[in-house]
């Protein structure tokens, strides 16, 4: 007698277990469909966009170049013609159209170097920055004002008038020294021994190991 009752109870339990399993599988069907989006969350992108360490000022960049700081790469997002005309020393040219290509990602998607994007103003550089940031590339920065700003401030800095504060004078002298470093000759400068312009050796970018694809198999 007990065996039959036990067997009936057991089969009831197994029916319940089977139902739980089918319910879990069917539950998948009831979930509302939504397209999984590519890239980091929009809120995060927004906060990155308006965070202050997104831009790098021309003075800061000039300071880095003068001190031969090797930890960053300059990437010009303009097309190759304007890149050949004039660009920053040791810059790499990745036109905006090719920013998402495979070989471009070797330079952008790595965390050994800081990446400084620039274009004439920071218009196209911002576009490149937004796309790369959405894909989760790390430590990208945009040169504030781009090449135009670079010329206005570093290559021929505006002479501060007398009533400007002392800091403007210090800034001006720094900028003048920087421009001399970049080969701008000044008439009134006493011709002291011209510092041999040390051209920074080409930055050998260590390609980041490909994101580790899970090797598997048995």
């Amino acid at each position: 007698m007990i065996n039959r009752k036990l067997a009936k109870f057991l089969s009831l339990q197994y029916v319940v277990l089977a139902l739980i399993l089918i319910l879990a599988a069917a539950g998948l069907l009831l979930l509302p469909k939504y397209v999984k989006h590519e890239g980091i969350d929009t809120k995060e992108l927004l906060s990155n966009t308006f965070s202050n360490e997104r831009y790098i000022s021309t003075d800061e960049l000039a300071n880095n170049i003068v001190n031969q700081d090797p930890s960053f790469i300059l990437i010009d997002v303009r097309d190759s013609i304007s890149f050949k005309k004039n660009s920053l020393p040791n810059a790499i040219n990745i036109p905006l159209k090719k920013i998402l290509n495979e070989e471009a990602s070797a330079y952008l998607d790595q965390d050994q170097f800081d990446v400084v994007l620039y274009s004439n103003t920071n218009f196209y550089a911002d576009q490149a920055w937004m796309l790369c940031n959405r894909l989760g590339y790390k430590n990208l920065r945009v040169l504030k004002g781009g090449i135009n700003e670079w010329f206005h401030t570093i290559i021929n800095p505006t002479k501060p008038t007398e009533n400007m504060p002392a800091t403007a004078f210090e800034l001006y002298s720094f900028r003048k020294a920087a421009s001399m470093y970049f080969g701008v000759a000044y008439l009134d400068a006493i011709p002291k021994k011209v510092v041999k312009k040390v051209v920074r050796k080409k930055v050998k970018t260590v390609k980041k190991k490909k994101k580790k694809k899970p090797e598997g198999g048995c």
Binding site: N3, L17, P214, E215, G216, G217, C218
Partner: protein, 178 residues
């Protein structure tokens, strides 16, 4: 249910298979979640064979197309994920066997056949399985189970053909089991 007479021999009580299956399923999910790959077993045997051949005749291992795939000078062939996992399987099985008192050096065979015949068929089965596992690039736990977990077509084909093949040849080996 007739009471078994040889309770001592049959005292080991196993888990409910559905409980074992559920835990195995969760383990596969956990493995994929952490390492991005599934389980495996025959890969460990492959690595050990490669290691043996590499130590015994390194020259031969170098120019054989198959061995050279798994030999790289900085790491010994035994230093792969699967070999460690296989060691874990040995430890885990020993643990479970010890807890339920199943550790005993013996040959398990059907009363109708001799121990020698059982060992011979185990060897033949092993050779066949080793060969098949290399051709299909995976065994039941590597290709079939882990492949099925991510709905890979190859995984399902392997699972179907393993059990299909088994049922196909079951008639020929029935003397060993029933």
């Amino acid at each position: 249910m007739k009471k078994f007479d040889n309770t001592k021999q049959n005292r080991h009580i196993y888990w409910n298979p559905y409980f074992g299956g559920l835990l195995l399923g969760l383990l596969i999910i956990f493995t994929f979640y952490i390492t991005g790959r599934g389980l495996g077993a025959s890969g460990a045997m492959k690595s050990s064979v490669v290691a043996i051949v590499d130590t015994v005749t390194p020259k031969h291992a170098e120019n054989n197309a198959y061995y050279s795939k798994f030999i790289n000078d900085d790491k010994s062939p035994l230093n792969t994920w699967l070999v460690l996992e296989a060691l874990g399987v040995l430890v885990g099985a020993f643990l479970s066997g010890a807890l339920t008192g199943r550790i005993k050096l013996k040959v398990q065979h059907s009363p109708k056949i001799t121990k020698k015949r059982r060992l011979i068929f185990a060897l033949i089965g092993g050779i066949l399985f080793g060969l098949g596992a290399q051709i299909a690039r995976g065994c039941t736990s590597g290709a079939a189970l882990s492949g099925a977990a991510v709905l890979s077509t190859g995984g399902f084909i392997t699972m179907i053909t393993i059990f299909g093949g088994g049922y196909l040849f079951a008639y020929f080996f029935r003397k060993n089991w029933i």
